[in-house]
Symmetry: C2
Subunit: 542 residues, 2 copies
């Protein structure tokens, strides 16, 4: 086969690298007067945003920050953070969003590992900074972020943010460069080992913003976001860059509201005052909002809220719907920049219960996302079968920063491995069922520990159950239920096996999921936050 | 400055080239049962579309078509055309959409110039093909397209399309390759010289599809396209690949309806039967539809129709609105792949008249499009001032095929020159005023001939007027009005000048637009189709 010719580019043609700065063209042309709001402190338009982005870049340059440097930000959600989302990558530097909730020793590790050269630090984190300052190996400049715009305290600060902007020119000639240049980085706090750095290029952020805005807007009704919406993040901007939605909101030209540090009544009051219609958060934040005193009087109708981070419980979804909130799930990981799927209805649900169920599933892939579910043998599962979710999309981290082994494991076989188990239904909707580390691999097939636990817990004598995989010479692994009986009740392994076997006969689970052994315990080990400690259980009962 | 580091890619990571095949992931995952309809002839779902794309590629390969070859299609709008939009680029070949209305000698020129190796030809064009067949220098294979699926006549045909697909495997392993590979090409028929070939890469088509779907869907209300819409092109698929909308519609997973050869009642009946809600066309087609007998009974409400190609007259827009059609303008050229702007309301119009006016303007840039209006001196016009519209976007042709001088002229200064004069209003809305070749450049400023003609035509003695630019030693050019007086009326140059001067005094036009000379004629030369022949007038009265 002859090779496909590449397009000729005449010398004067503009090749148009996909750079973060290009996201600003449309909002500046279409709605330059739309507002950016920070609490009750500041309010300005997109034209001013663009000028402040220029000022921030000029100011950072005057402090010696150059292309290739990493600039780390410690802040609550603010207009300053939004400005740094643009100015830092646009000048060719790398924005590091710092998870301020990491333990101090992990903070030190990530700042040194990323070679952060400059810090932008909210005054509230100065005690934290003081406690780690002498362990930071690469930091040369620190800019203070303070709502009160006070001069920085003595000792090591280069400037206060607003003073720096006031003294700097809005004219900064943001250069063109390779669209594969690193734009952002942040660290995932895995359960084991040191945090791992993921990173995203300009090209990836632009493609994510385009695809996500097409997905969000394309819904016929439920879950639809449009250019008249008002956006307020409720997933912190330091966490997976607020799922990348500030880039999406800016490209779409939405009014944007930044709430500072989250408090339930603060979020609610601001949302009401600024008529917020589009947010995203973890289930815990939504639950807090709904149970806050202020919420009972608040009119929450028409607020579109995407839930991610962990599964949206049916009861919480129902409570939100009763208040008129259009709540639905988005699924993604730190490694996927943000979303892979959204649970916007693809067709009208059969009834309210079906609609409710769909909202709590992971949903359908957004444009350009290719999803597969892999069986234990590495091939595709049968349609509807549970398997590890793997993905391709143009915005997935291409590795972990300076961590080649973990990078190769993440991308084994050319697909990003999410570590989640899920099934794609007949309607194409993805449903998550398990974390892969909790799944039992037996004879090349996978058994869901969560599914088995659910079935065994229905036995009348069972008070609590955890199912773990234990090594088996023949099958690789076999499921082992750990059972705590109800006070006064009794059952033996045969009874539990017979109970599970009935589900296998009815086809609810495969035959190979029926355990041979059952272990009865007085109590099941828990973690500090009260979750079943499967890691410890696997070690103890191996 | 240190260089910005590019992102590391671990060896196993998938870099995700932007290829046309990637547009199919989402619709296949989300709505595989949605329909593609061809007249009353054929109806199948996206799953079948994907299989037929595989079959077409296998079939073309069996005929010797390879990556890098150009495959030219002569067809009316059909499912076959849609299949070739995907299969041909996806196999690494180049799709050439043939403008079947070009004069035969230009057809020959474009097919030879593009080195077309295979043709797909609708049976209706066999007489045309026969008349040019012996002048085609590169064509080796011809496939017959026939709704009746008859065997091809004797002489030079390789296969009939449906028979070829039936004999070919749906399994075709579409390879990955460079996203800058040429995917499509077609020829613009300029008013002078040979047609010029424009070309678009896989990357460009994917980025256009993403940005256009984000733009179309993001509208709060007026002009909004969503995943529940039903699409039918009414700009032919051989013309600027139907503005690229078949790619957009496929990415969005819309039901798609292909009408074959356009007839007013055929389009209307099909639109009604299949409940079409989204189309695009030139003003002439809309006018034909509205005046067709069938239209008077048809329910056209909720049909969103984008108008391009030439200006949407206010009266036509009003007539369409009265019938419930949501009509609005899109602006683009062959050179821009398709759209640069859309006239979806950015804010609620003040009243019906304002809304009507907005629909007839060119509108606002779609995501990633950067627009400028350049004054005669090459700098930006003042806000609101008319100038040549130049653009950057990731999907603009990077030159004319094998035509280096014209390519450099197109991209002079790093912006694509549209050849149109327009002004960007205070609301950011682009309004076209002129073609640049009809504009008069005087003393580094531009004067709109159309604007001057409009003003002069308001003088009671003037029956007809054309304004041309004539050479001037001091100013470069000066405007020269050519005036035909009404029968019985009289006026001299002073009267006309005084009339124009009054507008200059009121600020409606600049002072330098007032002509020194006025020429009175008995008649103004026209072209064959009755338009004022400015080219001839410029030659005659220079």
């Amino acid at each position: 086969m002859s090779a496909t010719p590449l397009i000729d580019r005449t010398p004067s043609a503009y090749g148009y690298p996909l750079l973060v700065k290009q996201l600003l063209h449309t909002p500046l042309a279409s709605c330059p007067e739309r507002e950016i709001v920070y609490r009750d402190r500041r309010r300005y338009d997109y034209r001013t945003l663009r000028q402040r982005i220029g000022r921030l870049a000029s100011g950072l340059q005057s402090l010696g920050v150059a292309a290739g440097d990493t600039v780390a930000v410690f802040d609550w959600d603010s207009h300053r953070y939004l400005e740094s989302y643009f100015a830092v990558p646009m000048m060719g530097a790398v924005l590091m969003t710092v998870n301020v909730r990491l333990p101090p020793e992990q903070l030190v590790y990530t700042l040194n590992h990323s070679r952060a050269r400059a810090l932008l630090v909210n005054v509230e984190f100065l005690p934290l900074l003081a406690s780690i300052r002498d362990q930071l190996e690469t930091v040369e400049r620190i800019v203070l972020l303070d709502d009160e715009e006070r001069a920085p305290p003595a000792g090591g600060f280069s400037a206060e943010y607003e003073a720096l902007l006031a003294a700097s020119s809005p004219e900064f000639d943001f250069p063109d460069f390779d669209e594969n240049a690193r734009a952002t980085t942040f660290y995932t706090s895995g359960t084991t080992g040191a945090p791992k750095g993921v990173y995203f290029s300009h090209r990836q952020l632009v493609l994510y913003a385009l695809a996500m805005s097409a997905a969000l807007a394309g819904a016929p009704g439920q879950g639809r976001i449009h250019r008249g919406d008002v956006y307020m993040p409720m997933t912190p901007m330091f966490h997976v860059h607020a799922w990348g939605i500030p880039y999406v909101a800016t490209l779409m030209g939405l009014k944007q509201v930044y709430p500072g540090r989250y408090t339930p009544d603060g979020l609610l009051q601001l949302a009401q005052r600024e008529r917020v219609t589009f947010s995203h958060c973890v289930p815990t934040v939504l639950r807090m909002l709904l149970s806050d005193a202020t919420a009972s009087q608040a009119d929450l109708r028409g607020w579109k809220v995407i839930i991610g981070g962990s599964a949206l419980p049916m009861g919480l979804a129902e409570a939100a719907l009763r208040r008129g909130i259009d709540v639905f799930t988005g699924y993604g990981l730190s490694e996927t920049c943000a979303a892979l799927t959204l649970a916007q209805f693809q067709a009208e649900p059969d009834d309210a219960a079906h609609g409710l169920a769909l909202r709590t599933r992971a949903g359908w892939p957004i444009p350009l996302v290719e999803l597969r579910t892999l069986a234990g043998n590495g091939g595709d599962t049968v349609r509807g079968g549970a398997g590890e979710i793997v993905a391709r999309a143009p915005w997935l981290t291409q590795g972990y920063f300076r961590h080649p082994e973990a990078s190769e494991a993440l991308w084994e076989g050319g697909y990003l491995h999410t570590g989640d188990i899920g099934a794609i239904g007949a309607d194409g909707c993805l449903q998550l069922t398990d974390r892969i580390k909790d799944v039992i691999k037996t004879g090349g097939e996978w058994v869901s520990s969560i599914e088995l636990e659910d079935l065994i817990s229905r036995h009348p004598a069972v008070a609590e159950v955890a199912v773990i995989g234990v090594r088996d010479d023949r099958w690789g692994e076999r499921p082992l239920p750990l059972v705590v009986l109800r006070a006064g009740a009794h059952a033996d392994a045969d009874a539990i096996r017979a109970h599970v076997h009935a589900y296998a006969r009815s086809g609810a689970i495969p035959k190979y999921a029926v355990p041979e052994r059952v272990l009865f315990l007085a109590a099941i080990d828990k973690t500090g936050v009260g979750k079943i400690d499967k890691k410890l259980l696997r070690e103890k009962y191996q």
